[in-house]
């Protein structure tokens, strides 16, 4: 019973809230009303059973809560001689068909006039239905800080009048990319081990794919997340980092890989060749045995042309090292100038080690270690240094 309720809540929160915001034109009022409706449901449904149309029930209850609140405020306002201008909630809301306004909601939450961390927090709170406390814990800040961040963001949406709408055609690509970037950022936060965020990002990705079924980049992002996430179990062994080549493939989630590849196929069928589609294609090749490094190198090359990112070039270097040998990889790495990027040094170290240039490899591992805060990554580099010392000792 409890799981069923949780599932219904999970599925309905974003939709109910989005419709309420569209209807009331006010984030705070909508959120309070939705919260009250869900609280009433949590109290009644276990006793009376889940209504036949839970969404309509939640929406009607929330709307009534909002209307009551507006009336109370109006009575209060009249008492103090103030005018209340907003009469929107007096307009009857159709309760048979509710518009799905989740897209409007996510575009508002990811508006470029909001700070990125505010975009992330708002998206998780409104669409994802995470509590302020849950978001705070996931991003390692205090609940108070996160609450302030949300209040400020909602305040700005209202004060600066950030529109609640799907952007017009000439803005859509740019704004959709901002939305995808937020989802990807949430996923990456989760990739470091906070599983709930990765799961949340995939959930948001699925919702977006449902809302924008014809956008190849939306599908590409979902495919990439599914494919990366499918190796989650194998990426750590007893809390220690395991590189792709050393992973226990029996721990890969084959169902999720198939799922990711199906999304990738759809993206390609839609003519997708954007950055997320390319990254999904690379992730799909990484999950294949044997790995087609030549194809991976070619895709990274294409991605470099799109993004001009030296980090992408670094990844291409790794693939090139597999096909043309470590020397060829090293030539690319040494032309990148990413001196403060720890993965540049760890990649250099691996290539130098393969070339037998042990002293240089050691120096590069040390430089990588200097730049690394993460515990598991540091321990990984320590192990590499120890192994290197052992080879030198024996040789």
């Amino acid at each position: 019973m409890v799981t069923t309720l949780d599932q219904v809540f999970r599925e309905e929160w974003g939709r109910v809230l989005a419709t309420l915001i569209g209807f009331l034109g006010d984030f705070d009022l909508a959120e309070e009303a939705a919260q009250e409706a869900f609280a009433i449901a949590a109290e009644r449904w276990p006793r009376d059973g889940i209504p036949s149309n839970p969404r309509a029930w939640l929406m009607t209850t929330a709307r009534n809560q909002a209307t009551d609140r507006i009336r109370r405020n109006r009575v209060l306002a009249t008492k103090f001689g103030l005018l209340v201008a907003d009469n929107r909630a007096e307009v009857p809301m159709k309760t048979t068909t509710f518009p799905d306004e989740r897209l409007e909601l996510i575009f508002t939450c990811c508006h470029p006039a909001l700070a990125v961390e505010a975009q992330v927090a708002l998206t998780l709170r409104t669409l994802g239905g995470l509590t302020t406390d849950e978001i705070a814990r996931a991003f390692l800040v205090s609940e108070r800080t996160m609450a302030q961040r949300l209040v400020r963001a909602k305040g700005k949406i209202k004060a600066a009048r950030i529109p609640f709408r799907v952007p017009p055609a000439h803005l859509l690509r740019e704004r959709l990319d901002a939305v995808l970037a937020v989802v990807y950022l949430i996923f990456n936060e989760g990739y470091g081990g906070r599983d709930e965020l990765a799961a949340e990002a995939i959930w948001l990705g699925r919702a977006l794919a449902e809302l924008l079924p014809d956008d190849p980049e939306v599908r590409g992002l979902l495919a990439m997340m599914l494919l990366h996430d499918s190796r989650r179990e194998a990426r750590f062994s007893d809390g220690e980092l395991v590189l792709l080549g050393d992973q226990d493939r029996s721990q890969w989630n084959t169902e999720q890989i198939a799922d990711g590849r199906a999304e990738l196929d759809r993206a390609l069928a839609l003519g997708g060749r954007g950055p997320y589609v390319l990254q999904a294609a690379i992730a799909s090749l990484h999950a294949a045995v044997p790995c087609d490094w030549a194809q991976i190198a070619a895709l990274y090359g294409e991605l470099t042309r799109l993004t001009a990112s030296p980090v992408v070039e670094l990844n291409r270097a790794i693939a090139v090292a597999e096909t043309d040998g470590p020397e060829a990889g090293l030539r690319i790495v040494d032309g990148l100038g990413l001196d403060d990027f720890r993965y540049l040094h760890s990649t250099r170290a691996e290539l130098l080690k393969r070339l037998g240039r042990t002293d240089e490899a050691r120096a590069a591992y040390r430089r990588a270690r200097e730049l690394t805060d993460d515990g598991a990554e540091r321990r990984f580099l320590e192990r590499r240094l120890t192994e290197l010392a052992a080879t030198t000792g024996s040789g």
Binding site: H111, A113, A159, A160, R161, I162, P163, L171
Partner: protein, 115 residues
Amino acid sequence: MRYIMLIYQGTALEQQAALPEEEQKQVYADYQGINQTPGVTPGLPMGLPQNATTVRVEGGKTLTTDGPFVGMKEAVGGLFILEADDLDAAIEIAARVPAARYGGAVEIRPSEVYW
């Protein structure tokens, strides 16, 4: 909604001075175009930041200091008032201000009724 559009010149004045005459004319034409855009009320041309005076009142005492308000690196170089439906519409106008593309910026402030 009324927006106050604050223009920060940054390096724009120097960059524009170095432009060929034709492009300089384009800059003037662009500003004029914005001033004539429906919804726009042009502001008065502002003097240079070094001629500004900032006034603060602390504990009932008026303190005047030389120069612009030092909360940021750049000083406001001009402003206009814009009546627009929402922030997106204001952003589109802001992006047309030449300073925005010559190293300066435009700050959009929604207007507020304080009294």
